[in-house]
Assembly symmetry: C2
Homo-oligomer: 362 residues x 2
Amino acid sequence: MAASKGSGQVTRADVAREAGVSTAVVSYVVNNGPRPVAGETAERVRAAMTALHYQPNLNARALKRGRSQTLGLVVVDSLNPFFTELSLALEQAAAERGHRMLVAESHGDPDIEDQLVRELTGRQVDGLLLVSSFRRHDHGAPFSSDSTPTVFLDSPGPLPGRHTIGPDAAAGARTAVQHLIGVHGRASVGLVIGPGRVATPDPRETGWRRALAEVGIPAGRLVVDDWSNAGGYRAVRRLINDDDQPDGLFISSDVQAVGALRALHEAGVDIARECPIVSFDGTRAGSYTWPALTSARQPVTEMARTALELIERPQLAVGHHSFAVELLVRDSCGCPVHPPVEASAVAQPSTSTPDERPENVI
Amino acid sequence: MAASKGSGQVTRADVAREAGVSTAVVSYVVNNGPRPVAGETAERVRAAMTALHYQPNLNARALKRGRSQTLGLVVVDSLNPFFTELSLALEQAAAERGHRMLVAESHGDPDIEDQLVRELTGRQVDGLLLVSSFRRHDHGAPFSSDSTPTVFLDSPGPLPGRHTIGPDAAAGARTAVQHLIGVHGRASVGLVIGPGRVATPDPRETGWRRALAEVGIPAGRLVVDDWSNAGGYRAVRRLINDDDQPDGLFISSDVQAVGALRALHEAGVDIARECPIVSFDGTRAGSYTWPALTSARQPVTEMARTALELIERPQLAVGHHSFAVELLVRDSCGCPVHPPVEASAVAQPSTSTPDERPENVI
DNA sequence: GTGAAAGCGCTAACAC
DNA sequence: GTGTTAGCGCTTTCAC
C-alpha cells in the first residue's frame, strides 16, 4: 500500500500511484467521464480507492468547477415548526436535484443575516434560499449575493427584482375567518399576529379585515406579539384580561396558536364553544395539539420545488409566486374532533385503528 | 474601476490590481496577518475591496489551509423538537467558536447517514457531530471520517474508541418513574419507548424497570412505536384498548408524549387523575402542551459545549460523557398547573402577567 | 513593508 | 485509452 502524504489526506495522486495510472484517469473514473476508461483500468482504480479509503476533496472540486452542488439556506427561527417543515422540504427538494444544504440561522437579526449571506456566497453556494428574510429590500443597496441565484421564501408579496415565494396569506386568512363566522357563527373575531417584517399591514391582517368587512362585522381586537409559543400565549392572556373578549380568534401562525391554546386552557375556556380558533400554516404538529388546530395550510412541498426550480434556472423572470393555501379543518374551530391522519398512515402490526376519519380539507 | 474576469467572480487579483499592490498584501489585509501592512496601503486595499464588492472564496481558503471552519452535523429527524433544540445549541456553540455548521438529515437511514458522513468529510469539515447515530459501531469497519474529529451525541452509552455524549437516561427515567410512584401514588406505570438503536435495552427502559423493582411493583406494559408524535399517539391507543391499563405512564421522549396526550384526550381520559405521565427530554415545546409535560430535561447547552470542546481538542481521551438530567415538574404528572416560565421572561410593554410561579426543578 | 511564486486537490483541455 | 499540464483562488515562505 502506497504511503500517503504527511497531511493525512489521501489524494487523487495517491490513488493514481497505487493503481499505476495517471491522476487524470482517476478523475475520469471518479466522475465517470468526460473521457472513457478501459474496464480493467477502471477496476484497478476503484480497488485502489477502496484500499486507500479515498475520499475526493469536494472543496477542491468546487474551486475548479466553480460550482459546489451546495445551496445556502438562511432561516429566522428553526424552533418554529413551520420553518422546520419548510426547511425539511427544501432540503429534500435539493437532495432530489443532487444538492446539499448549508443551513444557518439568523435569529431574526438583519445584521447576522447579512453576515451569513456573505459567508455562504463566499463558500461558493450555487444558490441562496432566504426564509422570512428581514432584509430591507427597499434601500437598493447592492446585495452581496447578486451573482448567486437567490430566492426569498415566506415572502408576503413581490420584492423588486427578486424571486419571491409566499402563501396567498390574505386569501387564507379570509377563508379562515369566514369559517369561523359562517360555520361557527362567531360574532366577533380577534386577530393574533406577529410583528411585521416587510409588508405593512401583513396580508393576514388584510384577509382578516376583509372577511369581517364582508359580513359587516367591525374589526375586533388585534394583538401583536412574537411569532412563538410564548408570543401566542402572552397575546391571549392579554385578551383574556380585557372586557370585550372576542368569541373567536384567528391566529396568524401555528406556533402562536399552540401558545394560545395553552393560555385558553389555563383560563378554563371551553375552546370549541367559547373561543374557537383557526390558525395559519397547517403544520403537522397542529394535528397533535388539544384541540387539533384548524389551520390554513401552506403547501411547503410545492413551494420548495418551485424554489429549487428558480435556483436552477436563474434566467427565469423574477417575480412573485403566490401559493394558494387550503383550510385544514380539524378541531380547534369547534368542528367535531378529527384524529390525526398521519398516525394511521404507517401500518402498525400490533393494533390497527381503522376507525379514523380523514381530515377535512376545504 | 478595474474590469473583473469573465467568470463574474471578483478575486483577490482584481483587488490587488485596483489597489496597486500585490495579491500577497491583499491577503495580509484580509487576514490581518501574518505580515504587517502599512496603514495607508491597508486603507487603499480596503477601499478597493468595497469598491469591487470583494468576497473571499472560502473554499479556496479551506483548500489552502486544510481547515474550513465548518462543522458537519448529521441529525436523524429535524422534526423532533429535542433534536431541533440540540441542533440549535450546537450551532450556537459552534458560532461562539467561529465555526459554521453544515447540517444534513439522515431520516434514520444508516446508508444515508454513511453517505452524508462521506460527503461532509469530503467537504473538509473540521469536525463531525452525529446526533443519535444509527451507525453500527460493533462491526469494526473503518469509518471514513476517522481522520476527522467526530463526536456522537444522544448516545445511550460509551462506544469503543469514540467520543460520546449522552444523558444519564437510566437515572432520569428512574427519577421520572419515582415521581409518579412516590408523589402521585401510581400503582402501575407503563412505558412508551421508541425502537432501540445501539443499546438494548435502552437505558430509559432500564431506569423504568429499576424504579419499579425498587418498590416491588412488577414491570407493567411496555409499548414500542416510532420516536414521533404519531408513534406516541399510536402507542397510547393500543394501551387504551387493553384490559390492564396502567394508571401512569413514562414516555421516553417529549415528541411521543405530545402524541400520547392527544390520544388520552381523545379517549376522554382525565390525565392528571387517571393517567399521569412523565416524559423525557424537557424541551421548551413541552411547556405549551395541555397539560404541560413533566419531563426529565437534558442539558442541551452543556452537551453542545462539551461536543465542541471535544471537536477542538481531538487529542482528548475518548470516552463517554454522561450528563445528569433534572426533572422539570410541570402539569402532566398531576402536579398543580404551571404556566410557562419562558413566556414571562420577555418583558411585554402592554400587559404583564406577574402572577406566574416558576417551574419546579428537582 | 512588499512582492514573486509555489502549491493545496482537483478537472479538463490537449497531446500522444 | 491514457498521460501531461494549466489553473481554479487562496496563503505563506522567502527574497528583496
